[in-house]
Protein backbone atom coordinates (compact mmCIF):
# COMPACT_ATOMS: atom_id res chain seq x y z
CA UNK A 1 0.00 0.00 0.00
CA UNK A 2 2.92 2.31 0.71
CA UNK A 3 3.81 2.00 -2.96
CA UNK A 4 1.18 4.67 -3.53
CA UNK A 5 3.95 7.14 -2.69
CA UNK A 6 4.96 6.71 -6.33
CA UNK A 7 2.12 9.00 -7.31
CA UNK A 8 3.12 12.13 -5.33
CA UNK A 9 6.83 11.41 -5.64
CA UNK A 10 6.84 11.02 -9.40
CA UNK A 11 4.38 13.91 -9.76
CA UNK A 12 6.72 16.12 -7.78
CA UNK A 13 9.68 14.89 -9.83
CA UNK A 14 7.93 15.77 -13.09
CA UNK A 15 7.04 19.24 -11.76
CA UNK A 16 10.62 19.82 -10.56
CA UNK A 17 11.97 18.56 -13.88
CA UNK A 18 9.78 20.94 -15.86
CA UNK A 19 10.02 23.97 -13.60
CA UNK A 20 13.56 23.87 -12.18
CA UNK A 21 15.87 21.13 -13.49
CA UNK A 22 15.31 22.14 -17.12
CA UNK A 23 16.58 25.65 -16.25
CA UNK A 24 20.00 24.32 -15.22
CA UNK A 25 21.41 23.40 -18.56
CA UNK A 26 24.93 22.40 -19.50
CA UNK A 27 25.43 23.38 -23.14
CA UNK A 28 22.02 22.29 -24.47
CA UNK A 29 21.51 19.30 -22.19
CA UNK A 30 19.99 18.95 -18.76
CA UNK A 31 19.44 16.23 -16.20
CA UNK A 32 16.53 13.79 -16.30
CA UNK A 33 15.32 13.65 -12.71
CA UNK A 34 12.59 11.10 -13.38
CA UNK A 35 14.93 8.71 -15.18
CA UNK A 36 17.47 8.78 -12.36
CA UNK A 37 14.75 8.31 -9.72
CA UNK A 38 13.45 5.27 -11.60
CA UNK A 39 16.96 3.84 -11.92
CA UNK A 40 17.62 4.34 -8.20
CA UNK A 41 14.25 2.82 -7.26
CA UNK A 42 14.67 -0.23 -9.51
CA UNK A 43 18.09 -0.94 -8.00
CA UNK A 44 16.80 -1.18 -4.43
CA UNK A 45 16.61 -4.68 -2.95
CA UNK A 46 13.13 -6.14 -2.68
CA UNK A 47 11.51 -3.64 -5.03
CA UNK A 48 9.02 -5.40 -7.28
CA UNK A 49 7.05 -2.41 -8.53
CA UNK A 50 9.70 -0.71 -10.67
CA UNK A 51 7.82 -1.32 -13.92
CA UNK A 52 4.66 0.13 -12.39
CA UNK A 53 6.61 3.25 -11.43
CA UNK A 54 8.06 3.45 -14.95
CA UNK A 55 4.60 3.22 -16.47
CA UNK A 56 3.26 5.95 -14.20
CA UNK A 57 6.28 8.18 -14.87
CA UNK A 58 6.02 7.81 -18.64
CA UNK A 59 2.34 8.81 -18.56
CA UNK A 60 3.11 11.86 -16.42
CA UNK A 61 6.13 13.04 -18.40
CA UNK A 62 4.42 12.29 -21.70
CA UNK A 63 1.56 14.52 -20.65
CA UNK A 64 3.79 17.56 -20.18
CA UNK A 65 6.17 16.90 -23.09
CA UNK A 66 5.80 17.24 -26.82
CA UNK A 67 7.42 13.82 -27.16
CA UNK A 68 4.77 11.07 -27.09
CA UNK A 69 4.35 9.00 -23.93
CA UNK A 70 5.36 5.74 -25.61
CA UNK A 71 8.88 7.05 -26.20
CA UNK A 72 9.22 7.75 -22.49
CA UNK A 73 7.66 4.39 -21.69
CA UNK A 74 10.16 2.55 -23.87
CA UNK A 75 13.03 4.55 -22.36
CA UNK A 76 11.95 4.14 -18.74
CA UNK A 77 11.16 0.46 -19.15
CA UNK A 78 14.63 -0.10 -20.55
CA UNK A 79 16.07 1.72 -17.51
CA UNK A 80 14.22 -0.64 -15.19
CA UNK A 81 15.30 -3.61 -17.28
CA UNK A 82 18.95 -2.57 -17.10
CA UNK A 83 18.59 -2.09 -13.36
CA UNK A 84 17.11 -5.54 -12.83
CA UNK A 85 19.81 -7.14 -14.96
CA UNK A 86 22.66 -5.32 -13.25
CA UNK A 87 21.26 -5.66 -9.74
CA UNK A 88 22.00 -9.38 -9.71
CA UNK A 89 25.48 -8.98 -11.16
CA UNK A 90 27.03 -6.04 -9.38
CA UNK A 91 24.94 -6.09 -6.20
CA UNK A 92 28.02 -5.68 -4.03
CA UNK A 93 28.70 -2.26 -5.53
CA UNK A 94 25.32 -0.51 -5.67
CA UNK A 95 26.78 2.84 -6.73
CA UNK A 96 28.59 1.20 -9.62
CA UNK A 97 25.31 -0.36 -10.69
CA UNK A 98 23.59 3.02 -10.31
CA UNK A 99 26.18 4.72 -12.54
CA UNK A 100 25.91 1.94 -15.12
CA UNK A 101 22.12 2.03 -15.23
CA UNK A 102 22.08 5.85 -15.42
CA UNK A 103 24.64 5.80 -18.20
CA UNK A 104 22.91 3.14 -20.29
CA UNK A 105 19.42 4.49 -19.55
CA UNK A 106 20.34 8.03 -20.61
CA UNK A 107 21.88 6.77 -23.85
CA UNK A 108 18.84 4.65 -24.70
CA UNK A 109 16.41 7.45 -23.78
CA UNK A 110 18.25 9.94 -25.98
CA UNK A 111 18.60 7.45 -28.80
CA UNK A 112 14.84 6.83 -28.74
CA UNK A 113 14.07 10.57 -28.64
CA UNK A 114 16.50 11.28 -31.46
CA UNK A 115 15.14 8.45 -33.63
CA UNK A 116 11.53 9.55 -33.11
CA UNK A 117 12.29 13.21 -33.89
CA UNK A 118 14.22 12.24 -37.00
CA UNK A 119 11.31 10.07 -38.16
CA UNK A 120 8.84 12.94 -37.76
CA UNK A 121 11.19 15.19 -39.70
CA UNK A 122 13.06 17.34 -37.17
CA UNK A 123 16.47 18.35 -38.54
CA UNK A 124 18.78 17.14 -35.76
CA UNK A 125 22.45 16.70 -36.70
CA UNK A 126 23.71 13.57 -34.92
CA UNK A 127 27.12 14.96 -33.97
CA UNK A 128 25.67 18.16 -32.52
CA UNK A 129 23.01 16.20 -30.67
CA UNK A 130 25.62 13.94 -29.09
CA UNK A 131 28.01 16.74 -28.21
CA UNK A 132 25.56 19.39 -27.08
CA UNK A 133 22.69 17.39 -25.57
CA UNK A 134 23.52 13.75 -24.81
CA UNK A 135 26.99 14.03 -23.28
CA UNK A 136 26.15 17.03 -21.03
CA UNK A 137 22.90 15.35 -19.96
CA UNK A 138 24.83 12.18 -19.21
CA UNK A 139 27.25 14.05 -16.99
CA UNK A 140 24.45 15.83 -15.12
CA UNK A 141 22.51 12.57 -14.68
CA UNK A 142 25.59 10.87 -13.23
CA UNK A 143 26.10 13.82 -10.87
CA UNK A 144 22.59 13.70 -9.46
CA UNK A 145 22.52 9.91 -9.33
CA UNK A 146 24.59 9.75 -6.12
CA UNK A 147 22.28 11.79 -3.83
CA UNK A 148 19.16 10.38 -5.48
CA UNK A 149 20.33 6.82 -4.85
CA UNK A 150 20.60 7.59 -1.13
CA UNK A 151 17.22 9.31 -1.13
CA UNK A 152 15.51 6.41 -2.88
CA UNK A 153 17.16 3.93 -0.50
CA UNK A 154 15.48 5.77 2.38
CA UNK A 155 12.19 5.73 0.52
CA UNK A 156 12.59 1.99 -0.13
CA UNK A 157 13.22 1.36 3.57
CA UNK A 158 10.02 3.19 4.37
CA UNK A 159 7.97 1.49 1.65
CA UNK A 160 9.42 -1.95 2.38
CA UNK A 161 9.92 -2.25 6.14
CA UNK A 162 10.87 -5.93 5.75
CA UNK A 163 14.02 -4.82 3.97
CA UNK A 164 15.12 -2.83 7.00
CA UNK A 165 14.63 -5.78 9.33
CA UNK A 166 16.68 -7.98 7.05
Amino acid sequence: MRNIIALPLLGLAVILQSAIVSQFSLLAGYADLVLVILAAWALQDGVTTAFHWAFLASIMVGFSSHLPWFIYMAGYFSVVLFALLLQRRVWQAPLLAMFSVTFLGTLVMHLLSYTYLRIVGDPLPFRDTMGLITLPSLLLNLLISIPLYGFMRDIARWVLPSMEKA
Binding site: A28, S64, S65, H110, D122, L124, I133
Partner: protein, 281 residues
Protein backbone atom coordinates in the same frame (compact mmCIF):
# COMPACT_ATOMS: atom_id res chain seq x y z
CA UNK B 1 59.34 79.85 75.55
CA UNK B 2 62.51 78.32 74.22
CA UNK B 3 60.63 75.06 73.56
CA UNK B 4 57.91 76.88 71.64
CA UNK B 5 60.49 78.66 69.54
CA UNK B 6 62.39 75.49 68.74
CA UNK B 7 59.12 73.66 67.73
CA UNK B 8 58.04 76.55 65.54
CA UNK B 9 61.46 76.61 63.99
CA UNK B 10 61.33 72.85 63.38
CA UNK B 11 57.90 73.11 61.78
CA UNK B 12 59.02 76.04 59.66
CA UNK B 13 62.11 74.18 58.56
CA UNK B 14 60.06 71.06 57.75
CA UNK B 15 57.58 73.12 55.71
CA UNK B 16 60.38 74.91 54.00
CA UNK B 17 62.06 71.63 53.15
CA UNK B 18 58.77 70.16 51.89
CA UNK B 19 58.02 73.37 50.01
CA UNK B 20 61.49 73.31 48.57
CA UNK B 21 61.16 69.70 47.52
CA UNK B 22 57.79 70.46 45.92
CA UNK B 23 59.17 73.52 44.22
CA UNK B 24 62.11 71.55 42.91
CA UNK B 25 59.89 68.71 41.76
CA UNK B 26 57.47 71.08 40.01
CA UNK B 27 60.48 72.67 38.47
CA UNK B 28 61.45 69.31 37.01
CA UNK B 29 64.52 68.75 39.09
CA UNK B 30 63.19 65.38 40.45
CA UNK B 31 61.60 64.19 37.27
CA UNK B 32 63.16 60.73 37.30
CA UNK B 33 62.15 60.17 40.92
CA UNK B 34 58.60 61.60 40.47
CA UNK B 35 58.11 59.62 37.31
CA UNK B 36 58.83 56.40 39.14
CA UNK B 37 56.62 57.43 41.98
CA UNK B 38 53.67 58.53 39.86
CA UNK B 39 54.17 55.54 37.57
CA UNK B 40 53.80 53.27 40.55
CA UNK B 41 50.73 55.13 41.67
CA UNK B 42 49.15 54.97 38.25
CA UNK B 43 49.87 51.25 37.98
CA UNK B 44 48.37 50.65 41.34
CA UNK B 45 45.28 52.68 40.48
CA UNK B 46 44.94 50.91 37.18
CA UNK B 47 45.15 47.53 38.91
CA UNK B 48 42.39 48.50 41.30
CA UNK B 49 40.26 50.05 38.58
CA UNK B 50 40.43 47.01 36.28
CA UNK B 51 39.67 44.62 39.14
CA UNK B 52 36.76 46.78 40.17
CA UNK B 53 35.41 46.93 36.62
CA UNK B 54 35.82 43.17 36.26
CA UNK B 55 33.92 42.55 39.45
CA UNK B 56 31.26 45.06 38.40
CA UNK B 57 30.87 43.38 35.01
CA UNK B 58 30.76 39.98 36.64
CA UNK B 59 27.96 41.10 38.93
CA UNK B 60 26.02 42.96 36.23
CA UNK B 61 26.66 40.53 33.33
CA UNK B 62 23.94 37.88 33.78
CA UNK B 63 21.17 40.44 33.45
CA UNK B 64 22.84 42.07 30.42
CA UNK B 65 23.43 38.77 28.56
CA UNK B 66 19.82 37.75 28.92
CA UNK B 67 18.57 41.11 27.72
CA UNK B 68 21.14 41.21 24.91
CA UNK B 69 20.24 37.71 23.76
CA UNK B 70 16.57 38.64 23.73
CA UNK B 71 17.32 41.80 21.80
CA UNK B 72 19.58 39.91 19.41
CA UNK B 73 16.85 37.37 18.70
CA UNK B 74 14.37 40.17 18.09
CA UNK B 75 16.75 41.92 15.73
CA UNK B 76 17.57 38.73 13.87
CA UNK B 77 13.88 38.07 13.36
CA UNK B 78 13.42 41.65 12.23
CA UNK B 79 16.32 41.31 9.76
CA UNK B 80 14.96 38.07 8.32
CA UNK B 81 11.49 39.64 8.01
CA UNK B 82 12.97 42.64 6.23
CA UNK B 83 15.04 40.41 3.93
CA UNK B 84 11.90 38.47 3.01
CA UNK B 85 10.12 41.76 2.36
CA UNK B 86 12.99 42.99 0.18
CA UNK B 87 12.94 39.77 -1.88
CA UNK B 88 9.17 39.96 -2.20
CA UNK B 89 9.31 43.60 -3.27
CA UNK B 90 12.12 42.95 -5.75
CA UNK B 91 10.03 40.17 -7.28
CA UNK B 92 7.03 42.52 -7.50
CA UNK B 93 9.15 45.25 -9.06
CA UNK B 94 10.40 42.79 -11.68
CA UNK B 95 6.89 41.60 -12.43
CA UNK B 96 5.60 45.17 -12.58
CA UNK B 97 8.36 46.15 -15.00
CA UNK B 98 7.55 43.20 -17.25
CA UNK B 99 3.82 43.89 -17.07
CA UNK B 100 4.36 47.60 -17.77
CA UNK B 101 6.38 46.71 -20.86
CA UNK B 102 3.65 44.32 -21.98
CA UNK B 103 0.96 46.96 -21.43
CA UNK B 104 3.01 49.41 -23.51
CA UNK B 105 3.33 46.77 -26.20
CA UNK B 106 -0.42 46.05 -26.25
CA UNK B 107 -1.15 49.80 -26.42
CA UNK B 108 1.14 50.26 -29.38
CA UNK B 109 -0.45 47.25 -31.10
CA UNK B 110 -4.16 47.83 -30.44
CA UNK B 111 -5.28 45.74 -33.41
CA UNK B 112 -4.61 42.52 -31.43
CA UNK B 113 -6.22 41.21 -28.25
CA UNK B 114 -3.84 39.75 -25.71
CA UNK B 115 -3.98 37.39 -22.78
CA UNK B 116 -1.05 37.56 -20.37
CA UNK B 117 0.35 34.26 -19.07
CA UNK B 118 3.17 33.22 -16.79
CA UNK B 119 5.78 30.70 -17.87
CA UNK B 120 5.53 27.80 -15.41
CA UNK B 121 7.78 25.21 -16.99
CA UNK B 122 9.72 23.87 -19.91
CA UNK B 123 9.56 20.64 -21.84
CA UNK B 124 11.20 17.81 -19.85
CA UNK B 125 13.13 16.71 -22.95
CA UNK B 126 16.31 18.65 -23.81
CA UNK B 127 15.69 17.91 -27.49
CA UNK B 128 12.70 20.23 -27.57
CA UNK B 129 12.29 23.97 -27.01
CA UNK B 130 8.82 24.31 -25.57
CA UNK B 131 7.49 26.26 -22.62
CA UNK B 132 4.38 25.66 -20.53
CA UNK B 133 2.16 28.64 -19.64
CA UNK B 134 -0.56 28.94 -17.02
CA UNK B 135 -3.42 29.84 -19.37
CA UNK B 136 -5.49 27.30 -21.25
CA UNK B 137 -8.75 26.76 -23.08
CA UNK B 138 -10.69 28.19 -20.11
CA UNK B 139 -9.02 31.53 -20.90
CA UNK B 140 -9.74 31.37 -24.62
CA UNK B 141 -6.34 30.01 -25.65
CA UNK B 142 -6.44 27.87 -28.78
CA UNK B 143 -3.87 25.84 -30.69
CA UNK B 144 -1.85 27.89 -33.18
CA UNK B 145 -2.20 31.25 -31.44
CA UNK B 146 0.99 33.36 -31.58
CA UNK B 147 2.84 34.14 -28.36
CA UNK B 148 4.84 37.36 -27.96
CA UNK B 149 6.55 39.55 -25.39
CA UNK B 150 7.16 43.27 -25.54
CA UNK B 151 10.48 42.48 -27.27
CA UNK B 152 9.07 40.34 -30.04
CA UNK B 153 7.85 36.93 -31.21
CA UNK B 154 8.20 33.97 -28.83
CA UNK B 155 6.40 31.13 -30.60
CA UNK B 156 2.99 29.61 -31.06
CA UNK B 157 0.62 27.52 -28.95
CA UNK B 158 1.16 23.83 -29.67
CA UNK B 159 -1.21 22.10 -27.26
CA UNK B 160 -3.88 23.29 -24.84
CA UNK B 161 -5.57 21.85 -21.77
CA UNK B 162 -8.11 23.58 -19.53
CA UNK B 163 -5.71 25.67 -17.45
CA UNK B 164 -2.37 25.41 -19.24
CA UNK B 165 -0.87 25.40 -22.70
CA UNK B 166 2.37 24.28 -24.30
CA UNK B 167 4.11 26.78 -26.57
CA UNK B 168 6.60 25.87 -29.28
CA UNK B 169 9.39 28.46 -29.23
CA UNK B 170 10.79 29.77 -32.49
CA UNK B 171 14.14 28.34 -31.32
CA UNK B 172 12.82 24.76 -31.51
CA UNK B 173 14.56 22.69 -34.21
CA UNK B 174 11.17 21.86 -35.77
CA UNK B 175 10.02 25.50 -35.84
CA UNK B 176 9.89 27.47 -39.07
CA UNK B 177 8.57 31.00 -39.47
CA UNK B 178 8.05 32.96 -42.67
CA UNK B 179 9.84 36.26 -42.25
CA UNK B 180 10.34 39.51 -44.04
CA UNK B 181 13.58 41.51 -44.05
CA UNK B 182 12.43 45.08 -44.06
CA UNK B 183 15.57 46.83 -45.33
CA UNK B 184 16.25 44.33 -48.09
CA UNK B 185 12.54 43.98 -48.87
CA UNK B 186 12.80 40.22 -49.24
CA UNK B 187 11.31 37.15 -47.61
CA UNK B 188 13.13 34.35 -45.83
CA UNK B 189 12.54 31.34 -43.60
CA UNK B 190 13.51 31.45 -39.92
CA UNK B 191 14.50 28.08 -38.45
CA UNK B 192 15.49 26.97 -34.96
CA UNK B 193 18.18 24.57 -33.82
CA UNK B 194 19.01 22.22 -30.95
CA UNK B 195 21.27 24.85 -29.38
CA UNK B 196 18.47 27.44 -29.27
CA UNK B 197 20.12 29.60 -31.94
CA UNK B 198 17.96 30.82 -34.79
CA UNK B 199 18.97 31.43 -38.38
CA UNK B 200 17.53 32.59 -41.66
CA UNK B 201 17.46 30.39 -44.72
CA UNK B 202 15.96 30.59 -48.22
CA UNK B 203 17.12 34.19 -48.71
CA UNK B 204 17.30 35.03 -52.37
CA UNK B 205 20.82 35.39 -53.78
CA UNK B 206 19.77 38.72 -55.31
CA UNK B 207 18.86 40.25 -51.96
CA UNK B 208 21.36 42.54 -50.25
CA UNK B 209 21.41 41.69 -46.58
CA UNK B 210 23.34 43.73 -44.04
CA UNK B 211 24.16 42.91 -40.40
CA UNK B 212 21.66 44.76 -38.24
CA UNK B 213 18.73 44.38 -40.65
CA UNK B 214 15.43 44.00 -38.84
CA UNK B 215 13.55 40.71 -39.23
CA UNK B 216 9.75 40.69 -39.00
CA UNK B 217 7.10 38.04 -39.54
CA UNK B 218 5.78 38.17 -43.08
CA UNK B 219 2.36 36.66 -42.38
CA UNK B 220 2.77 34.23 -45.28
CA UNK B 221 1.38 30.79 -44.60
CA UNK B 222 -1.11 32.10 -42.08
CA UNK B 223 0.82 30.85 -39.07
CA UNK B 224 1.64 34.27 -37.62
CA UNK B 225 0.31 37.79 -38.06
CA UNK B 226 2.60 40.07 -40.10
CA UNK B 227 5.10 42.59 -38.73
CA UNK B 228 5.96 40.98 -35.41
CA UNK B 229 9.58 41.66 -34.50
CA UNK B 230 11.84 38.60 -34.43
CA UNK B 231 15.38 39.95 -34.27
CA UNK B 232 18.29 41.29 -36.26
CA UNK B 233 20.68 39.85 -38.80
CA UNK B 234 24.08 39.15 -37.24
CA UNK B 235 26.06 37.92 -40.22
CA UNK B 236 25.36 36.73 -43.73
CA UNK B 237 26.64 33.57 -45.43
CA UNK B 238 26.58 34.04 -49.16
CA UNK B 239 28.16 31.46 -51.43
CA UNK B 240 27.91 31.64 -55.17
CA UNK B 241 27.54 27.86 -55.48
CA UNK B 242 24.42 27.76 -53.33
CA UNK B 243 20.85 28.57 -54.29
CA UNK B 244 20.12 30.74 -51.26
CA UNK B 245 21.87 32.89 -48.71
CA UNK B 246 21.81 32.04 -45.00
CA UNK B 247 22.12 34.31 -42.03
CA UNK B 248 22.52 33.97 -38.29
CA UNK B 249 20.04 35.94 -36.21
CA UNK B 250 20.16 37.71 -32.87
CA UNK B 251 16.66 37.16 -31.43
CA UNK B 252 14.91 40.15 -29.89
CA UNK B 253 13.60 37.98 -27.06
CA UNK B 254 15.83 36.50 -24.36
CA UNK B 255 14.44 32.97 -24.33
CA UNK B 256 16.37 31.93 -21.23
CA UNK B 257 14.59 34.54 -19.10
CA UNK B 258 10.99 34.23 -20.20
CA UNK B 259 8.66 34.94 -17.29
CA UNK B 260 5.49 36.51 -18.63
CA UNK B 261 4.23 36.29 -22.21
CA UNK B 262 1.24 37.54 -24.19
CA UNK B 263 -0.93 35.25 -26.26
CA UNK B 264 -2.60 36.96 -29.22
CA UNK B 265 -6.10 35.56 -28.80
CA UNK B 266 -7.82 37.21 -31.75
CA UNK B 267 -5.54 35.54 -34.29
CA UNK B 268 -6.51 32.17 -35.69
CA UNK B 269 -3.79 30.30 -37.53
CA UNK B 270 -4.78 29.17 -41.01
CA UNK B 271 -4.15 25.55 -41.86
CA UNK B 272 -3.00 25.66 -45.47
CA UNK B 273 -2.19 21.96 -45.65
CA UNK B 274 -5.29 21.14 -47.78
CA UNK B 275 -4.22 23.81 -50.25
CA UNK B 276 -0.74 22.41 -50.72
CA UNK B 277 -0.71 20.46 -54.00
CA UNK B 278 0.06 16.77 -53.65
CA UNK B 279 1.52 14.57 -56.34
CA UNK B 280 -0.97 12.11 -57.73
CA UNK B 281 0.13 8.89 -59.38
Amino acid sequence: MKDLFSRTLQTTIIFLVIGGILALSFGGFFSSVTNRFTGGLVSLQEWFATRYQAIQEFLAAPRDIVSLRTRNTELQKQVSDLQAQVINLQQRVNETEILAALVDFSRTNPESSYKAASVIGRDPSPFLHYIIINRGSNDGIRRGMPVVTSEGLVGRVDAVIADAARVQLITDPASSVNTHLKNANTDAMLIGSITGDISLDLISQDATIQPGDLILTSGLGGGFPPDLIIGQVVNVHKRAAELFQQSTVQPAVDFSRLQIVLVIINFRAVDIAPLVPTTTP
